[in-house]
Amino acid sequence: MKVFVKRDSGFQEFEVPRHPSQTVLDVVTYIQRELDPALAYRYACRVGMCGSCAMTVNGVPRWTCRTHVDKVVREDALEIAPLKNLPVIRDLVTDMREFFDKWARARGQFAGERTKRDDFHKVKPSSSDRVQVDSNIECIGCGVCYAACDVVAWNPDYLGPAALNRAWTLVKDERDSLKAERLRAVAGDAGCHSCHTHMSCTERCPKHLSPTAGIAGLKRETAKALLKGEL
């Protein structure tokens, strides 16, 4: 198959043999090991846990380690590029700093109140708040949603689906003590109110999570806080 890989100088064509159950990450690894050792790309776990191998495959952001070539190949060709909406360091490697800095700006850090002397805080799995974030907490931080988001492309300040999803999981975490501050961090033009509910993040999330639902939840929670005079 023909593989067009985005390099700093433009797309470069490679010929890569097909194999059963071959993933897009296998293809990139083959190119680096057999055809061009200078190709830069990033991966770690290879099993869909670490969130480091996301790239744009035939125009769509995907986790490459769990994307089978069979599912995405078109006319025996693949086009592989770095994730959109992020600065490129080299070839297929993007700079994720801004992406994760936005998690911090969305107050994505857990702030508990108990110390090691206290007993464990037991969260009932069936409690309403916990059920609402059951899937959202499974985010692996791969950046696919961020690359798929139109609002991030239009408004560079926008925190993005992953950071807002993280904030949502903490807003619904009964152990957390920073709710008001977090709602202030995610309200406004850079936060949840800029989401247009296009749902590209939900469409592309490799873990089938719905950041859109989390962002809608943040809109509800911020509205409630405002009406109570807490925002």
Binding site: V151, W154, N155, R184, A187, G188, D189, G191, H193, S194, K219, T222, A223, A225, L226, L227, L231
Partner: protein
């Protein structure tokens, strides 16, 4: 108070009002056209009718609230236009909508 959250609530609330107003407005148009009412006959029904004036006043005010807030996002995303100049322009646009809308509503009432 977080102004964007307040704007968001205002836009959602005005959208709910508009959903009803637009439906009534369209139904009225269809009724007037189907029934073959002339302009004179329509004016006969609206002149001095406080109910229609109240309805269209609510409609115009909902538009005045709703449209500039949506335009605000377009200013940010398409033009990168922020700050005071944008807010003043949007306030003027809101005033223009209110003036034109109320002029029409009063026009068929008075």
């Amino acid at each position: 108070m977080n102004i964007q959250t307040a704007l968001w609530i205002a836009q959602r609330a005005s959208a709910a009002v508009l959903a009803i107003c637009v439906t009534v407005h369209l139904a009225t148009i269809v009724y007037a056209v189907q029934g073959g009412l002339s302009a004179g006959e329509i004016l006969e029904r609206t002149r001095g009718n406080a109910g229609w004036l109240a309805f269209y006043t609510v409609f115009v005010l909902a538009v005045t609230v709703h449209a500039p807030i949506g335009l605000r996002s377009i200013c940010i995303e398409w033009l990168g236009w922020r700050g005071r100049s944008r807010d003043v322009a949007l306030a003027l646009f809101a005033a223009l909508l209110a003036w034109m809308g109320m002029r029409a509503a009063i026009g068929v009432f008075a």
